[in-house]
C-alpha cells in the first residue's frame, strides 16, 4: 500500500505545490512553520478541499485526479477516501463513551453493533485504554483522549492515516507515550502515515523520511537523516534546529565563510576553491569565558557578545550579536556556571568531529 500525492492547488490566496509518496508501514514527516501549507496538504489529501491539478492515489484507488476516460476530474468525498485524520485535539464525540467513539467508524461503515463494539474494545486494549471504555471524553485526560482518538482512527481500518501535530497539545511525558504508540502502530497497522509537525524530534523518532514545506512548496525531501543532517538551505537548517554555514575551500583544507570564520570538519573532500557547506548542532558548541580581545583567527572558534537567549528543553539557546545566525545551546547548569546573560562576551569552539562537511553540488 502506498499514498502518492502530486498536486497543485489553491485555497483562498494560498498556493500549494507538492509531490510526495508515503509507503505502508512508514511515517513520512512533513516539517514546516505555520503558514507553510502543512494543513492545506493534509486537508487536500483528506478531501476537505479539492486539488486543482494533479492526483492523489491510495493503493491503486484514485482519490482525486484526471478521470479514466472523460475529461472530468475524479474527486472522492472524505467519507469515501478511507483516510483517517488524527489532529492536535482528540475531537472525541462528547456524548459518546470511549468505546462508542471507537466503534463509530465500524458502525458508520455498516458493521453490526455487537461486532463493532468488540472491535472497539480490542482497539482500546491495543492503546492501553481498555479499562476506560465506559468513560465519557470529559472524564479522560488529554493524553488518554488522544489515545482513544488513535484507537478510533485505526478501528475505522483506514488505508492511510494523517497525523496533524498530534503531540502538540500533550505534555512532554504524555507526548513521549503517544509517540511510542504511533511507532508501534506504524509497524503493526501497516498503513502509510503522514505526520505533520514543526518539531524535528518527531521526525527523528518516528519518520524514515522527511519533507520540508516552505510557503507552499517542497523545500527539501529525503531520508530523515539526510534532510535533518544535511539541510540544503538556511530555512531547512532552522527547521531542523542545526547550524548551516556555507563557504569556499581554502588551500589549507579549511572552509572560509563570508563572515571571516573558518571551519574544519569531517565528511566529503572539497577541492580548493569549491563551495561547500558545514552542518553542526548548536549543542555541540563548547562555551568558554572570553579569553582576550579578537583572537578569532583559529578554525572552528569564534567569540561574540550574547544578544538573545531563549529557553529550550534542558537548557538555553543563545545567539551572539556578531554572528546572529549561529545558534549555540548549553545546559542550564553551564549557563549558570559561566554567568551567561545578554551583554556578556564569550568564546566558542567546536570539535572537528562534530562538523559535517558536504560539497555544495
Amino acid at each position: 500500500m502506498s499514498l502518492k500525492v502530486d498536486i497543485r492547488t489553491r485555497v483562498g490566496s494560498f498556493a500549494l505545490e507538492a509531490a510526495l509518496t508515503a509507503h505502508s508501514g512508514e511515517v513520512l514527516a512533513v516539517l514546516g512553520p505555520n503558514g507553510s501549507g502543512k494543513s492545506t496538504l493534509l486537508g487536500t489529501i483528506a478531501g476537505l478541499f479539492p486539488a486543482h491539478e494533479g492526483h492523489i492515489k491510495l493503493t491503486g484507488r484514485v482519490l482525486e485526479g484526471p478521470g479514466a476516460g472523460g475529461n472530468r476530474r475524479v474527486w472522492l468525498p472524505p467519507e469515501r477516501r478511507r483516510v483517517a485524520l488524527l489532529g492536535q485535539r482528540a475531537m472525541l464525540l462528547p456524548h459518546l463513551s470511549a468505546r462508542e467513539n471507537v466503534a463509530f467508524g465500524p458502525r458508520a461503515q455498516g458493521v453490526p453493533r455487537t461486532l463493532a463494539r468488540e472491535r472497539a474494545m480490542s482497539w482500546l486494549d491495543e492503546v492501553g485504554m481498555g479499562e476506560y471504555a465506559q468513560r465519557r471524553p470529559a472524564q479522560l485526560s488529554g493524553g488518554q483522549q488522544q489515545r482513544v482518538a488513535l484507537a478510533r482512527a485505526l478501528a475505522a481500518e483506514p488505508d492511510a492515516l494523517l497525523l496533524d501535530e498530534p503531540f502538540t497539545s500533550l505534555d512532554t511525558q504524555t507526548a513521549a507515550q503517544a509517540r511510542r504508540l504511533i511507532a508501534e502502530q506504524r509497524d503493526r497497522a501497516g498503513v502509510p502515515m503522514i505526520l505533520v509537525t514543526h518539531d524535528p524530534m518527531d521526525a527523528v523518532v518516528l519518520a524514515a523520511r522527511t519533507l520540508v514545506l516552505r510557503e507552499g512548496h517542497v523545500e527539501q525531501q529525503g531520508t530523515t537523516a539526510e534532510v535533518l543532517g544535511h539541510p540544503r538551505s538556511q530555512f531547512v537548517a532552522a527547521m531542523a534546529g542545526v547550524n548551516l554555514v556555507a563557504g569556499v575551500a581554502e588551500a589549507d583544507g579549511t572552509l572560509r565563510c563570508a563572515d571571516g570564520l573558518r571551519w574544519v570538519g569531517r565528511g566529503e573532500h572539497v577541492p580548493t576553491g569549491e563551495a561547500a557547506t558545514c552542518v553542526f548542532a548548536p549543542g555541540s558548541v563548547r562555551i568558554h569565558p572570553a579569553a582576550g580581545p579578537s583572537e578569532a583567527s583559529a578554525a572552528n572558534s569564534w567569540s561574540g557578545v550574547v544578544a538573545v537567549m531563549d529557553p529550550v528543553p534542558g537548557g538555553i539557546r543563545l545567539f551572539t550579536a556578531e554572528y546572529p545566525r549561529l545558534a549555540i545551546e548549553c545546559p542550564s547548569t553551564t549557563a549558570l556556571a559561566l554567568g551567561i546573560r545578554p551583554g556578556v562576551e564569550l568564546a566558542f569552539s567546536i570539535d572537528v568531529d562534530d562538523i559535517s562537511v558536504r560539497c555544495s553540488r
Binding site: 467519507e79 489532529g87 464525540l93 456524548h95 463509530f104 467508524g105 458508520a108 482512527a153 475505522a156
Partner: protein, 283 residues
C-alpha cells in the same frame, strides 16, 4: 449561548466566581441592575396581589378558558414542530455556508423578531388573504386560510421561527465542523454525520431554541389577532382570550388576570422541564 449549555454544578461554580467578580464592578452598577430586576418582578407580584383568588377556580375551569388553553397548547405544539422542520435546515444552511448567503438569510430570519407582530399579521394577510397575492389561487382551490386555526399556526410559526433558527445556528457555529470532518474521515456518510454528530452536538441549542420557540408561539397575539381573528374554539388562543376578557363587555378584569396566571404557570412549567432535561443531558 454558554449559559444555556452549562450544567448545574458548573453553573454553581460560575455563580461563586461571579460573586467575587461583582466586587470589582463599580458600586453604582448595582442600582440600575436592581431597578431592572424590580421592573421584571414587580408587575407579576402586583398581578398576584390583585388577583381575586376565590374566583380563580371558576375563571380557569370555565369551558371558554379550557377551550382557549387547549387551542393554545395544540397550535403552539404544531407551530413548534413546523419551526423544527423548517428552522433546523435553515440554521444548517446559515451556519455552514460561506459568502454573502448566510448574512442575508440571517437578516431575513431575524426580521419577524424586530418587526411588530401586527406588521407580520398584515403581511401574512397581504399574502394569503382573500385579496392577497395568493388569494385568488387559494380561492380557486377552495382553500381559505385567514380566520382559521391554520392561520393561527402560520402566524405562530412566522413569529417563533427566528428564535429556533438563531439558537440552533449559534449552537452549530459554536460546535464547529471539526467533529464532522473527523467523522467523515472515519467513513460516515453525510446523513450519518448529521444524525450521530451534528444533531447531538447541537442538542443543547436545539432544546433551548425549541423551548423559546414554543413559548413565543404560546404568547403570540398581534399577528394572530390580525391574520386569524378571534373566533372562540377556532382562533381564540389564550392571549386573545385574555384580551377579550380584559376588554370585553360584561366580563370582569379578574378573569383576564386568572387566565394570565394560567399562561404564566404553563411558561414556568416549560422552563422547569427544560432545566431538568438539560441536567440529564449533562450527565
Amino acid at each position: 449561548m454558554s449559559t444555556l449549555t452549562t450544567s448545574r454544578p458548573r453553573a454553581g461554580r460560575l455563580r461563586t466566581r461571579g460573586h467575587v467578580h461583582a466586587r470589582r464592578l463599580p458600586a453604582w452598577v448595582a442600582i440600575p441592575a436592581a431597578v431592572g430586576v424590580l421592573l421584571l418582578v414587580l408587575p407579576f407580584i402586583a398581578l398576584l396581589v390583585r388577583l381575586d383568588w376565590a374566583g380563580v377556580p371558576e375563571a380557569i375551569s370555565s369551558p371558554e378558558a379550557l377551550q382557549a388553553l387547549g387551542l393554545s397548547l395544540s397550535t403552539a405544539a404544531v407551530s413548534t414542530v413546523l419551526c423544527l422542520l423548517l428552522g433546523v435546515p435553515l440554521a444548517l444552511v446559515i451556519a455552514r455556508s460561506n459568502g454573502w448567503l448566510p448574512a442575508v438569510l440571517r437578516t431575513l430570519a431575524t426580521l419577524p423578531l424586530v418587526l411588530p407582530p401586527l406588521v407580520g399579521g398584515i403581511a401574512l394577510l397581504s399574502l394569503l388573504g382573500r385579496t392577497g397575492l395568493f388569494g385568488e389561487v387559494l380561492a380557486v382551490a377552495g382553500i381559505q386560510i385567514p380566520f382559521t386555526t391554520a392561520a393561527v399556526v402560520i402566524a405562530q410559526t412566522f413569529v417563533a421561527l427566528p428564535f429556533l433558527v438563531i439558537s440552533v445556528e449559534g449552537a452549530l457555529r459554536a460546535v464547529g465542523t471539526g467533529h464532522e470532518l473527523v467523522a467523515a474521515g472515519l467513513g460516515a456518510s453525510r446523513f450519518t454525520v448529521f444524525r450521530r454528530v451534528t444533531l447531538p452536538l447541537a442538542a443543547p441549542g436545539l432544546l433551548a431554541g425549541t423551548v423559546l420557540c414554543f413559548a413565543r408561539a404560546l404568547g403570540e397575539f398581534g399577528a394572530t389577532a390580525l391574520f386569524a381573528g378571534n373566533a372562540p374554539g377556532a382562533t381564540r388562543t389564550m392571549p386573545l382570550a385574555i384580551y377579550t376578557a380584559f376588554n370585553g363587555a360584561g366580563v370582569r378584569e379578574d378573569t383576564a388576570i386568572a387566565l394570565s396566571l394560567m399562561l404564566i404557570v404553563v411558561a414556568i412549567a416549560v422552563l422547569l422541564l427544560m432545566r431538568s432535561w438539560r441536567t440529564d443531558a449533562a450527565r
